[in-house]
């Protein structure tokens, strides 16, 4: 019996690792979402193990693999990806496939945030946070810890507040000292939490979204979109509904899978990487005073890929 084609998309971010397997019609056959925990290789192996259990391999054969997210290069080389794409493009492709009428995509992840503007289903402009990660998921996590609650609970607390505390949000360092000050002044906790959520949203609009015309429909995704407090803050500030897709966290992986499907390259992917041994090593080139840090990836002891060198002198053989 012949199998049908399926496509795997993997999105390895700083905080979480996501993957989906789709068919030719973008129907999700398997999906998974786990924490990266500082170990992208381990996370991907674990993820593949979980996906393998969900997929009926007598029916489906994965013929294309897309990798995205900040560890896309590493993971792409490990799984033998047919497409390696940046997360902005992957998110744009994934989101416009499921929300063809979307005009603005807001995305706040663990370490970065971006905005993508869409016209007629095509991404036309985007912006990303520049040097500073103020107002991303990492900021929310650390403030939740300071307030003694889980980051997942923040949204519910925020919704209970009628008077969000004003918190300076230009810079994480200032935001934090302002927050401590407001706590010591006796502001109620739910007001502070709502203030933090509002600060994240207004910081985003003023920094990442500056000069951009935010049109409705607006889709909000990335880990922070799971925080209803931030969603509410965006709705208040933008004066329009903000859509959070239940599969929003998978949009990058979806985009990667769709890009793999559109691509011309084909492979036969068989989950065997789960059992292989991968090691990365850093090597200082020393060929000139740039002294590039070259990352080498070894599979079962043999070199499969390297990057980080600025010129041919840094090539590893």
């Amino acid at each position: 019996m012949s199998t049908q084609n399926a496509f795997l998309g993997i999105d390895v971010g700083s905080i979480s690792t996501k993957a989906v397997i789709i068919d030719e019609h973008n129907t999700i056959l398997a999906q998974e979402y786990i924490w990266t925990e500082g170990n992208p290789i381990g996370a991907v192996k674990k993820l593949l193990g979980l996906l393998e259990k969900q997929l009926d391999r007598d029916t489906w054969q994965i013929v294309g693999v897309g990798a995205t997210g900040s560890a896309r290069r590493l993971v792409g080389s490990i799984v033998g990806a047919t497409v390696v794409k940046n997360e902005i493009t992957a998110h744009a492709v994934g989101t416009t496939t499921f929300h063809p009428d979307v005009r603005t995509i807001l995305e706040i992840g663990g370490q970065d945030s971006k905005i993508i503007l869409v016209e007629n289903g095509i991404a036309v402009d985007y912006a990303m946070n520049t040097l500073c990660a103020a107002g991303t998921g990492a900021f929310l996590s650390s403030q939740a810890r300071r307030l003694g609650i889980d980051v997942e609970e923040m949204g519910q607390y925020a919704l209970q507040s009628a008077h969000p505390t004003m918190i300076a949000a230009r810079c994480t360092v200032f935001a934090e000292s302002d927050l401590v000050h407001k706590i010591q002044m006796g502001h109620p906790r739910e007001d502070i939490i709502a203030g933090v959520c509002r600060a994240v949203a207004s910081n985003y609009i003023n920094n990442v979204g500056k000069g951009k015309k935010i049109c409705s429909p607006v889709v909000f995704q990335g880990g922070v979109s799971k925080n209803v407090g931030v969603v509410r803050a965006f709705e208040d500030l933008l004066q329009c509904p903000v859509i959070v897709d239940e599969n929003g966290h998978l949009m990058g992986a979806m985009g990667a899978a769709i890009l793999a499907k559109r691509g011309l390259k084909r492979t036969v992917f068989d989950f065997s990487v789960e059992k292989m041994d991968f090691v990365t090593r850093e090597r200082n080139c020393g060929g000139c005073s740039n002294n590039c840090e070259v990352i080498c990836v070894y599979r079962d002891g043999s070199l499969i890929d390297f990057w980080g060198n600025r010129c041919e002198r840094g090539a590893v053989h």
Partner: protein
Amino acid sequence: MEETGGNRIPAIGIPRALLYYRYGTLWEHFFRALDVPVILSPLSSRGILDIGARLAPDEGCISLKMFIGHVEALIGKCERIFIPRYSNYGYTDLFCTRYEGIYDQARNIFHTSGQRFITCNIDVMNGSPEPKAFEQLGVELGFSERESRQAWKEAAGALEQEQRANDRLQKELAGKPGMKVLLAGHSYVLSDPYLGKPIRDYLEAAGAVILRTDALDPITSRKASARFSPTCRWLVSEEVVGGVMLWKEKVDGIILVSAFPCGPDSMTNELLIRRIKGVPVLPLILDIQSGMAGIETRIESFLDIIRFQKGEMV
């Protein structure tokens, strides 16, 4: 510091950083016309930047740190290191104060090295226009006023020729087929082999045609900047802004390349991002610890956006 006699190579050293990328041709031709040997510092590298970052003031921009690294590379290798003070070409043509201060900064940083330095003041507002400044420079090196003036004339002519050739090349490039990306920024960022080159290499490998604001005729650009803002303070900012105004309709995307933390760029780039419509604009800020990963992600996605717009499959 007194002259130590003939045990040093009687050559002028020029740090290959900051305004070298704007006036290098002028300086080199000036010294060459006087038969003064010139030694250039090596091309920028991580090593030079690391040394500069250790020696330069913490608050300085990455390009200043690179510059100090280049000065260090010349210490003890030449008779004098040439660091001109560029202040202004008149009331409306001001340079960022950075260029006015670097001679004194470098002298202070290396004051125990015994190295000699030489400068000249380009400061029209205080009665020292460029011809006079270079005349005095020549006299200080032991040449006559006439010889020095003649050398400046030759050098100024060479620079003008170079600018004309650059401008012509930009127009030729603009006529080429394919995706056109305008790099807007200071030439000491765009031309630097460590800072700007990886960006240019990446764009070229992706098949983009690269246009540059710093290669356009500076006078035309400065005039064009008035359409954007009549009160743009710094001369080089005017050229960046003017270049964007002149080319924004003819390119598929604009990348604003800036070295962190650049005061002038932080004003003009903010304004450009807010006011330039109809063409994708990517602000790209280079800082001292950034690897290429963040830069690659931003450029790759930027090129994808352009391809999406052009209806090309990504």
